[in-house]
Symmetry: C2
Subunit: 390 residues, 2 copies
């Protein structure tokens, strides 16, 4: 059930170890589920309990640590030898008697002979709590600790051909789901009905291919709520004249292809068409700029200078590196398309560019996921770049 | 758009402050999205960036802190005055220049005149990272810190009548989705197709009522993977003879009603029927035991003693307090139905009891969500307690 060849995992591990050496980290403890998956293949909805992956410069394979109940799931998904799976008993789960899974993790690290090394931890990663860090420090008194936040995320930033293929598959799901959502919308239709159609397609998939759950639920703020981007659906009906912004992502083996479009119930006002033209012009100017050797901030600048010609002044983060992800986010938290980000684009980096223009009366958001090729940016999706009348 | 009357939120706040006083906590900083929602009404998929709620013994209302982009979502969902919403600029989001949202939180706490108090933080809550804690400590040098993990979770454990209503509504969604999933299953049907039908119903809802996204995706390990409870669906087809365990929850305004059932593709083997009878007998014995004044461990014991009569010896956590939740979990992390948990049941506590029996060849899981009433446990769902042939 491994999604990638063993050699691909081994290459990832090698690049991770290079970064560890550069950072003076001898042992790395990861809790970000995407980083765990990236290096081990582990996949499961088990990140609601403490778990992690240990990478040691002295060991050929990463070591998985999780709940006993999840060890079979690990066996079914990882490429590493099953002797490298260590699980803690259920009395560590939300324990009233003070047992903590990090006590167990510390014992595993000691058992690997790494208790006195420099241990890198993801200080600001999802699921690495303040308590986890406190306990790990207490139980590994001979270790020193370094902040390894984003270390593996930066290894993830350039995709392999197989990863690109998965994002391409995810794109087919994104497009089908966007179409299903737009088709379902109309005056009097509850938001939840549209969300259900989107889910049905995202998960049910298309001929020959099903979809995974996306790391973020489909978002579709509408009416007076288009300015509240992270509000989820209600069961209120759409009304004539409502603008709707749909943001969603198909997902294949945890790889995403985000896509956002704007629609209006009952016809698109002229003013909105005009704003949409500016958004599309700016979006494509930014896409035309992206190429190997160009920096992230230069891509944003192309957007900003284009819309400035139309009298619109704004400085924003208009995109971010994306790919492998688990709830709560499909973004990789590394490169951002924004002023001040001088990350240099390389081939097979993948981004979600999601610019928008907001006036007091209306907002238009049109996004593209793209990869950097030697010839410049290549959109994953061919979904029409316009505001839809529904 | 508030889900509860203002008086209900005020009552929750009052009970929270009582616990704060008992614990010597003057200022409480919460990041668990369920706790934020419980006290403020705030609802949105924004927990992928840092945010939180501040409760001060000296202030009448909680104070919300989040990203500027999410302030409108807060205005749309909270009961508190909008002057109590404080938002940070986007240059704090995954900042390459070292800005951290907790720097901003510290300034808000200082601005409230609480910089030199005892600050309770949820050391082991989702989304309170090691870095968050480190930064908050650095930026509030005059404060002392206490661990307030689960403080509000324990306030949540007894539900109001309105909360019970929402769980009852969620139950209708759970039952409809379980039925849709079971109806869709069959030999040759891809797992993803069944997951899609379940989602369609969970979200699209039933006549007159839509559903929210559940805090955990529908889980449906099947075939050789029924022993891997947290593996999610693939697009492999179900095969004749495959057992399938479906665990899902309808969700209304973030309140859940979890439900699990076992099915077999193409007919239930006799041996499995016999195991199912034992599971049902044990489940109902435990339900019959639950009542105000009884402890959690006594409920588990009734299960254990019942299955022991059939020669099965196992000691497990068979359930947990549930209700309001966000990804990654609908459990409340407070009372558990397991040996050693002497929490005394009270009226309107709500649990998901999910016992199972596993042999080398097969496993059966049948669950019930229930509330404690003065007359004992009351199941939320009336879904048949049996193994389904699909």
């Amino acid at each position: 059930m491994q999604v990638f060849d063993r050699s691909e995992y081994e290459g990832r591990l090698k690049r991770t170890k290079e970064r560890m050496r550069e950072a003076g980290i001898e042992t790395l403890f990861l809790t970000d589920p995407a980083n765990m998956n990236y290096l081990s293949g582990y996949d499961g909805w088990s990140f609601y309990v403490h778990q992690g992956l240990i990478v040691s410069l002295d060991h050929d394979q990463p070591v998985w640590v999780g709940r006993e109940m999840d060890k079979n799931g690990a066996k079914a998904t990882v490429w590493i030898d099953h002797g490298n799976l260590h699980s803690y008993d259920d009395d560590h789960v939300q324990s009233p008697v003070g047992k903590h899974p990090m006590d167990f993790v510390a014992r595993v690290i000691e058992g690997m002979g790494r208790g006195d090394t420099n241990v890198g931890v993801e200080m600001d990663a999802y699921y690495y709590t303040a308590k986890s860090h406190q306990r790990l420090q207490e139980k590994l008194p001979e270790a020193t600790f370094s902040d390894a936040t984003l270390l593996v995320n930066w290894v993830r930033v350039v995709k392999s051909d197989r990863e690109i293929e998965l994002i391409e598959e995810a794109t087919q799901l994104s497009e089908a789901a966007m179409e299903a959502g737009i088709d379902a919308m109309g005056p009097g239709v509850p938001e939840s009905t549209v969300a259900a159609e989107i889910y049905q397609t995202l998960v049910g998939g298309i001929e020959g291919m099903g979809g995974d759950y996306p790391a973020i639920v489909p978002l579709m703020p509408s009416g007076e709520h288009t300015g509240t981007p992270h509000l989820t659906w209600s069961d209120e009906p759409f009304r004539n004249g409502d603008p709707v912004i749909v943001e969603l992502a198909g997902c294949r083996h945890r790889y995403h292809s985000p896509l956002a479009r704007t629609a209006v119930v009952g016809g698109v006002p002229n003013e909105m068409e005009r704003v949409a033209e500016v958004v599309v012009e700016g979006l494509n100017a930014a896409l035309d700029t992206a190429a190997p050797g160009v920096t992230c901030e230069e891509v944003e600048r192309a957007w900003r200078e284009t819309i400035a010609k139309h009298g619109i002044e704004k400085e924003d983060r208009i995109g971010y590196s994306m790919g492998l992800g688990y709830p709560p986010d499909w973004g990789e938290h590394t490169a951002s398309l924004r002023p001040g980000d001088d990350t240099v684009l390389e081939e097979n980096m993948t981004f979600h560019m999601i610019p928008g223009i907001w006036t007091d009366e209306l907002g238009v958001e049109i996004s593209e996921s793209f990869r950097v090729t030697e010839n410049g940016a290549e959109r994953f999706s061919a979904f029409p770049q316009k505001v839809f009348s529904v």
